[in-house]
Symmetry: C2
Subunit: 326 residues, 2 copies
DNA sequence: CTGAAAGCGCTTACAG
DNA sequence: CTGAAAGCGCTTACAG
């Protein structure tokens, strides 16, 4: 019942060449012929097989997407954006779901994607674990695009501007009138932390570094002027909020907190967390678009696309009151 | 630099047929020859292109996975399980990310997957929206496997046993000593609700139906013997918990609450929600396995696989105390 | 045990 | 404007 090019051609008494061109509406074929071909194709519910085309053109029109941790990160939203772009452009998205712990699976997955003839690879991970398995892509001149927070240097990438995000967080606190704040300075958090410091200098306010949630209460006791906290990310912000409430602090009357990421949990009534939102699905969308530019060498492709985050105001940041003594 | 079968054959002074067989370690080829071929293939970093094979065998060894709402549901964990199974079996997983609102995108996505020659389709959705776009798969005799809470009847499917889940929820409350409970009875929730009622009968305890979170406070006032609530899912459970706390109820001292799904939020200290866990990644895993059975007609495939959920005990369910009057 | 040939479903020069 | 031919990278009968 389902029909292929050859059968279509036979039924129309035309050559496969003509039918092939007509289906793509190539004006080299007489308009009348084109219409006739397209009409029959529609009637027969003809769907072109990618295989023949791919073999011929050495382009599968499929993009690989290697994701480390779909379930534990917001990469599922990045994936959503990538899916939209791929669909728009008629590309397939072949996913490789890996975890940083499983080196063997990483290697097998990279090879599997190559075997399935993907034209390019998008990588979302943040541990630098996948890189060693990507040599085969380079050897085959298949573009690799990193789509993550911070990309390893010499690669094509679509990333979120973490420095700006860090600035926005502190700028927001400063605008609400906070003069001395705690900022996260763990080792994963270089960019945002630098942004924090830069904005603090610009606004003329004081910062104190913390590394872990468990440091917070001690630091608040020590520096009674501190009235706000810029967390590493939303989950940490929620953890801090929990600890502070348990210790008797009111949020935001005593202490304001700002998160990072705008996870769904932020809008729950228990938290109402003011935070910095990344353009999650746009990250994926642009990564696919950049990949296509590289595959089809359309535009002179931008090597490193950086998307700006933005502030989402909720209720966890307010003007500083007089902190109640504890 | 990257090499194909033909070049490998030329370099080895063998026919492509022999090389092809040798690479798959077919014993019809002399062992010595096989080793020689495999050695050179490894040295040259040969990766077999799927295209030739797929065209020849009419099997792409790629499975399509149509997901309605990766970002808003736990389908991302189902996807994870599907990815594991696919990798194990050497299959690619081509994702189609759709949303129920966008009919045009649904159709285009289904056709795109077909165009990319997927061998089978897995569908995760729960609105019955995708079904009309799946005729082309049936016409082409491509297996379609539903992987969702409730699958439309005559299809192959991998689902979670919602009736049992509903039973487990109420059985848990009964075991903790609750005698009269509120159970969710909204129209989406038939299976779990029936399970609730069945377990209540078995345990000899009373149930009162509610439909919305906003009904709860009124019902608790009206029936002062009620000491526990079985929610539709975790998010509802958290909402209820919020409302109850605001109204001055203590959880679980005054009212116990049980959720459904075991979302990550359940283990946050603010909630510590006792709940029913579905085998999320196993759903995806089995869906891929069932698809392969259907594609390769290996085993007489089971039409409808049902996975059992289980109870996860945390702190939101306890023995009933004497409810404080409000 | 190995090779020559045909073919999977397309597209792309090239003739006419 | 249309057709005959070659070919993309493999595999599968079939000969030898």
């Amino acid at each position: 019942m389902p029909v292929n090019l050859k059968q279509l051609a036979a039924e129309l008494q035309l050559s496969t060449a003509t039918v092939s061109l007509a289906l793509r509406d190539n004006p080299i074929v007489a308009e009348k012929t084109r219409k006739k071909v397209q009409a029959l194709a529609a009637e027969r519910n003809y769907i072109k097989s990618n295989l023949g085309m791919a073999l011929q053109s050495k382009k599968s029109r499929i993009i690989g997407y290697l994701i480390d941790g779909v379930t534990k990160t917001f990469y599922n939203e990045v994936l959503q954006g990538a899916g939209e772009a791929a669909l728009e452009q008629g590309y397939g998205l072949l996913v490789g779901l890996v975890s940083k712990d499983d080196k063997a699976a990483n290697l097998r997955q990279a090879n599997l994607l190559l075997e399935k003839d993907v034209d390019a690879l998008i990588v979302s991970e943040h541990n630098g674990v996948i890189a060693p398995y990507l040599k085969s892509f380079e050897m085959r001149k298949k573009p690799v695009v990193y789509c993550t927070c911070e990309a390893p240097r010499p690669h094509f990438s679509v990333t979120s501007n973490d420095f700006l995000g860090g600035e926005l967080a502190v700028k927001t606190l400063a605008e609400f009138g906070h003069k001395k704040i705690l900022v996260n300075a763990n080792s994963m958090n270089k960019q945002r932390h630098e942004g924090n410091l830069s904005a603090a200098r610009a606004a003329g306010i004081d910062t104190v570094d913390f590394k872990r949630t468990s440091d917070i209460l001690r630091l608040l006791k020590r520096y009674s002027e501190i009235t706000a906290i810029a967390a590493y990310h939303d989950t940490e912000a929620c953890d801090i909020m929990f600890e502070l409430k348990r210790a008797g602090y009111r949020i935001p009357q005593d202490i304001s907190i700002i998160g990072y990421d705008d996870l769904p949990i932020c809008s729950r009534p228990e938290f109402m967390l003011t935070t910095i939102a990344q353009q999650r699905s746009m990250l994926g969308y642009r990564a696919v678009m950049l990949s296509l530019d590289l595959i089809e060498k359309r535009n002179e492709p931008f090597g490193n696309i950086v998307l700006d985050p933005s502030v989402v105001l909720r209720e966890s940041v307010a003007r500083p009151g007089k902190r109640r003594a504890r």
